[in-house]
């Protein structure tokens, strides 16, 4: 589905991403996990063409992405960022249907798709007429997700989509995301620094550190057979709330 071959990226003196090969399986959710500055977002931005890799190539659905086919390729991808990236001058409906209208799809079809997606993401219908500044953070991410899903892309790319949400909303949205991805059978690449989120949503996890993939596999594999001390440390860094109780007593 998506193949990174020998991709690397350098910003001045900083090697943000060392030469990396990575395969994303169709219908699976892969989480790029790691601490800040590990290169996970850089990797995602290279896939979507916001950054150009210094070396290597990206093969999407059997075809290498080039400047010539980038725009067309992007239309087969959905991209969600931390704060939603909603356009403030467009209503919620306008944001979601922007591309469909730009491509002059049938209006009735657009409307049907809009309401289907609203149901799927549990977005209240009345929110469709509002503007991004008039809805809550959780709703904004739902809208962003609807916008990404609208043209039924083969590949969904999410860059810490829940990073700015409070824990209750985040957990609710995580659950919904899992249902949605399973239901729609999408290939998903998600960036996260939260191992529990990665374990909950990801079929496959790639753990990065300083621009390199340290280990990949399921959460269970990472826990049972950590490749090095960093993996163990990263897994253990996630505190259970019970820890706090123990410390207090």
């Amino acid at each position: 589905m998506l193949e990174l071959q020998g991709v690397s990226k350098r910003f001045g003196d900083l090697q943000a991403l060392h030469t990396t090969d990575l395969h994303f399986e169709r219908g699976k959710t892969t989480v790029l996990l790691g601490p800040s500055g590990c290169g996970k977002s850089t990797l995602l931005r290279i896939i979507v063409g916001l950054l150009t890799s210094d070396t290597g190539s990206i093969v999407f659905d059997g075809e290498e992405i080039t400047p010539g086919n980038l725009i067309e390729a992007r239309r087969r991808m959905g991209y969600v960022i931390q704060d939603g990236g909603l356009f403030p001058h467009l209503s919620v409906r306008g944001n979601i249907t922007l591309m469909a209208r730009h491509l002059r799809l049938d209006r009735e079809e657009i409307d049907q798709r809009l309401h289907k997606l609203a149901q799927l993401t549990h977005l209240p219908t009345e929110a469709l007429g509002r503007y991004p500044t008039q809805i809550s953070g959780g709703q904004r991410q739902r809208v962003s997700l609807m916008r990404a899903l609208f043209l039924d892309p083969q590949l969904m790319l999410l860059d810490e989509p829940m990073g700015a949400l409070d824990p209750l909303i985040r957990s609710e949205l995580q659950q919904e995301l899992r249902e949605i991805f399973r239901q729609l059978d999408k290939t998903v690449v998600m960036v996260s620094h939260d191992i529990s989120e990665a374990g909950y949503l990801g079929d496959h996890i790639a753990l990065l550190k300083s621009g390199r993939i340290v280990q990949q596999g399921t959460l269970a594999e990472l826990v049972k057979n950590p490749a090095d001390k960093f993996v163990t440390a990263f897994i253990n860094a996630q505190r259970s709330p019970l820890e706090g109780l123990e410390a207090a007593s």
């Binding site: 992007r74 991808m77 991209y79 990236g85 356009f87 403030p88 467009l90 591309m99 503007y131 500044t133």
Partner: protein
């Protein structure tokens, strides 16, 4: 002047004059209310003003319905009693209004007019007939003083107005009567003919005898030694009943007989035509003061119509320059925001333009404007200067507005798969619209103020009374320009604030509330 076009109109409608009722009663206007009419050219309006002012001097309430149109229109207005008096020419009466009657003498004309209950004053003292003009030095060199002399110079090129080429007393009969041999004779517009004459492309043209250009361009009018051209002596026509209704006025009009010689009429014509700020009424009043020691009160062009004219001229300057500035600046601002290096150059250049003092820029522009074939005295230098001054603020605001679009949104637009042009159209420009419009709004308000500089170079607008006021030390006159300019600036600002409601997307104006 345009006697000819009036006459032409008259020819077209000549058949209809006969049915005009001859003895209709005066129009049911308010008692003691009188009206003077005039045709649509300067001399007629001046003569109309003289009659009007004389009536008022005699205590009558007289209105001047000026520039009504051509001969037939004014003649009929007289017959219907819509006007009581209007200036006319004997030639027009003989050749046009009573063409069928083959009138010869003034008495013939009076008799013909009497049948319509219209009376005529004695000639005022000048003849506005056709003549043939040559450059004085050319005529001198060739020794040409009268039309017959032209026979000896078959090589001369003639340029005649198109009317003159066709009229019965024009070139066709002139050629026959004087047996003129010239073959290089062309028809061209009257205004162009002066230029052609001065540049010696042609050596003779048709002129009107009271045309100020005869003196201005130092032309010699050849003597009509065979009396080819009919006389166009100026007279007043007035309704018979006016003798009872306003006897003192009629007496005053009759007293004008022989009172206006050609030079005086030419002087009045030139006074009005060469000075924007001398109205026909002013020229007429000055004449009455000089000639009869009368001191009529002249209310020059009404304040309202004067301000309306300033406003129209001013809006022209502002609208043309702003439209051009917007069309150029917004794309330049977008370009600047996309390419830092180009943007630096563009912004620097527009900043430098901004530092050129207004008057210097105007003076610099005048020869440039002239070199591209536009009139250097008039609105164009001002429009170009205003255009140049408007560039920077709009470019800068567009640049800033574009730069202020958050990177994350720019990226979101790109990642959706929008082409760069669609990103610009659908995302960046709408998001920058508020900033761009603010720039345009401010620029327009400043532009309204700057446009008063146009008064320096005859561009019209509110600058005209301001500059005249400065010249004459008349603060009231300056306020006539300054106050409307301030009001217009506010109106422009209001219009743009209204435009914001339509142009700035609603999402950018809603309050942040969940």
């Amino acid at each position: 002047m345009n006697t000819i076009s009036c006459l032409l109109l008259c020819v077209a409608l000549a058949g209809q004059t006969e049915d005009a009722a001859a003895d209709q009663p005066a129009a049911p206007e308010k008692a003691g209310q009188f009206a003077v009419g005039s045709k649509a050219f300067t001399e007629s309006v001046i003569l109309g003003e003289i009659a009007t002012l004389l009536g008022r001097e005699d205590g009558y309430r007289v209105q001047h319905k000026d520039q009504l149109g051509g001969t037939v229109v004014v003649w009929r207005a007289l017959l219907r009693g819509e006007v009581d008096v209007y200036p006319e020419y004997t030639g027009t009466l003989i050749e046009e209004l009573f063409k069928e009657d083959h009138l010869q003498s003034l008495q013939d004309i009076r008799d013909a007019l009497a049948r319509h209950n219209v009376r005529m004053t004695d000639p005022l003292g000048f003849n506005n007939s056709y003549g043939i003009g040559m450059q004085e030095k050319v005529a001198e060199r060739l020794g040409v003083t009268k039309l017959s002399d032209l026979r000896n110079h078959p090589q001369l090129r003639f340029g005649f107005s198109n009317e003159f080429m066709q009229r019965s007393e024009g070139w066709p009969t002139l050629r026959v009567n004087y047996d003129l041999p010239q073959t290089d004779v062309r028809g061209l517009s009257h205004d162009l003919a002066y230029g052609a004459l001065v540049s010696d492309d042609i050596q003779a043209m048709d002129v009107y005898l009271t045309d100020p250009k005869i003196e201005a361009l130092n032309l010699r009018v050849l003597e009509d030694d065979l009396s080819h051209f009919p006389k166009y002596e100026a007279v007043y026509l007035y309704r018979e009943d006016l003798r009872q209704r306003a006897p003192r006025w009629v007496a005053a009009l009759e007293d004008l007989a022989g009172a206006i010689n050609r030079d005086e009429m030419v002087a009045m014509n030139s006074q009005v035509e060469d000075n924007r700020d001398v109205s026909e009424a002013r020229a007429a009043a000055d004449f009455l003061t000089r000639k009869f020691d009368l001191h009529p009160v002249v209310v020059d062009e009404g304040l309202v119509s004067r301000i309306a004219r300033y406003t129209r001229d001013h809006l022209f300057l502002v609208i043309v320059s702003m439209t051009a500035a917007i069309l150029v600046s917004v794309p330049l601002g977008v370009l600047s925001s996309k390419h830092t290096a180009i943007g630096h150059v563009i912004l620097t250049i527009s900043e430098v333009i901004q530092t050129i003092p207004g008057l210097a820029l105007l003076v610099l522009l005048m020869p440039i404007v002239a070199s591209i074939g536009l009139n250097a005295v008039g609105p164009w230098p001002a429009i170009i200067a205003l255009f140049l001054y408007s560039l920077l603020p709009i470019i800068r605001n567009t640049y800033t507005g574009m730069r202020d679009v958050p990177t994350s949104l720019r990226e979101s637009a790109a990642v959706l798969g929008l082409t760069p042009l669609a990103q610009l159209r659908l995302i960046e420009l709408p998001m920058a619209s508020s900033m761009i419009l603010a720039g345009i709004k401010t620029t327009a308000a400043i532009n309204v103020g700057y446009a008063t500089l146009g008064g320096l170079i005859g561009a019209g607008g509110y600058g005209e009374p301001i500059m005249t006021g400065l010249r004459l030390g008349d603060p009231y006159l300056m306020l006539e320009g300054a106050i409307p300019a301030a009001i217009l600036a506010l109106v422009v600002k209001g219009v743009f604030e209204l435009a914001e409601r339509f142009l700035v997307p609603r999402g950018l104006r809603v309050s942040t509330a969940a």
